[in-house]
Symmetry: C2
Subunit: 187 residues, 2 copies
DNA sequence: GATTTCGTTGAATTAAAATTCAATAAAGTG
DNA sequence: CACTTTATTGAATTTTAATTCAACGAAATC
């Protein structure tokens, strides 16, 4: 069984390496040879672990799909406090668990452009907007959030978060912003 | 002279077509053949107008460099009002002058990853952060903006704007957000 | 109207990168 | 220890898309 575990670990090493490179340089600028060299292993060997570059990408997207994507209403916690806490945690991951942070950034990138169509479709199958809309409406009823179309506000909020995380990811010496600033988009 | 003007116009048509496609699908997913077909013209002819795909990209970046990138302190106008106005204008462009809007989104994309190195360097040579930092400091002194590291706030603000514009660009049925929401990141 | 120059096309070429493959080493199994 | 299976490499092949090119029609020039 050590053999199988070994293989799993190697697969994982490849995935993590690829995730890093994809986030750093983008999918197309990352060559299979680059990933292999970074793992490190020979280019050919990588195909022993993954069918193709696209399968590798899809595998990453599937991992991302399972992540902590669950935004939800937690009874008793005010919506603004909840969202602030959520962001605080993600930002903390930037240092402690870079892969979680990278995955978050990565998923956002995949949803937009510049990746094979199938990956995009898959990534778009998670929906953070609907639950956020509910949360925003609740916040509006409670008076903690301002008036406005909750759907637009939700998209705007996440787009903003995505933009900021991409910035943090690209610009390593940017300090972590205060989650309150971002949540105040809704206040 | 009509000959030369004709050529200029054709060149411009190619640039605008490419800009659209680059923003929509990304640089690498946009094939020279796609651009040519969309103009429309034959693939070969495109090389009569541009040396290479990269030259075409660089040309677009150069255009973007000249755009309305000038963020500045306008005496008498409070910083928050100024930034709100700026955003209002950009959002208005989304409908009236889609190319201005696309260009804005495009420049942001180029600055990050997934494009040839030289394009990135060129795009990064514009600096919206420094003038914004000044504006933010002024706003802090006047008490219209909250406390905090002005540099981080500026990066955060623009990253947020970039994220929202990319979202609007990808998701055509998203309504235009209220510029006030975004500026409130700083309040 | 002859001649040169420019615009145009689509097929041929080239270049880059993904993918396959034959060969070998290492590890597991009896 | 023989034997089978898996890991590994680097070179050969294939694929894809950029780029070049030879040929031709149209516009400008003389």
């Amino acid at each position: 069984m050590t053999r199988k575990e070994q293989k799993e670990e190697r697969r994982n090493a490849i995935l993590m390496t690829a995730l890093n490179l994809f986030v750093e340089r983008g999918y197309y600028d990352t060559k299979i040879a680059d990933i292999a060299a970074a793992v490190p292993m020979s280019t050919g060997l990588l195909f022993h672990y993954f069918e193709s570059k696209e399968e590798l990408l899809l595998e990453l997207v599937k991992m991302g799909l399972q992540g902590p994507g669950a935004i939800g209403d937690v009874p008793g916690v005010p919506p603004d406090v909840y969202l602030t806490g959520f962001l605080k945690q993600i930002f903390a991951f930037a240092k402690e668990q870079p892969w979680v942070f990278n995955m978050f950034v990565f998923m956002g990138q995949v949803r937009r452009a510049g990746m094979p169509e199938e990956a995009r479709r898959l990534a778009q199958s998670v929906d953070a907007v609907t639950p956020t809309v509910k949360l925003i409406k609740k916040g509006q009823k409670d008076g903690v959030f301002h008036k406005g179309d909750a759907d637009t506000m939700a998209r705007c909020f996440w787009a903003s978060v995505q933009g900021i995380m991409e910035q943090m990811s690209a610009d390593k010496n940017m300090k972590t912003p205060d989650p309150e600033w971002i949540v105040s988009i809704l206040k």
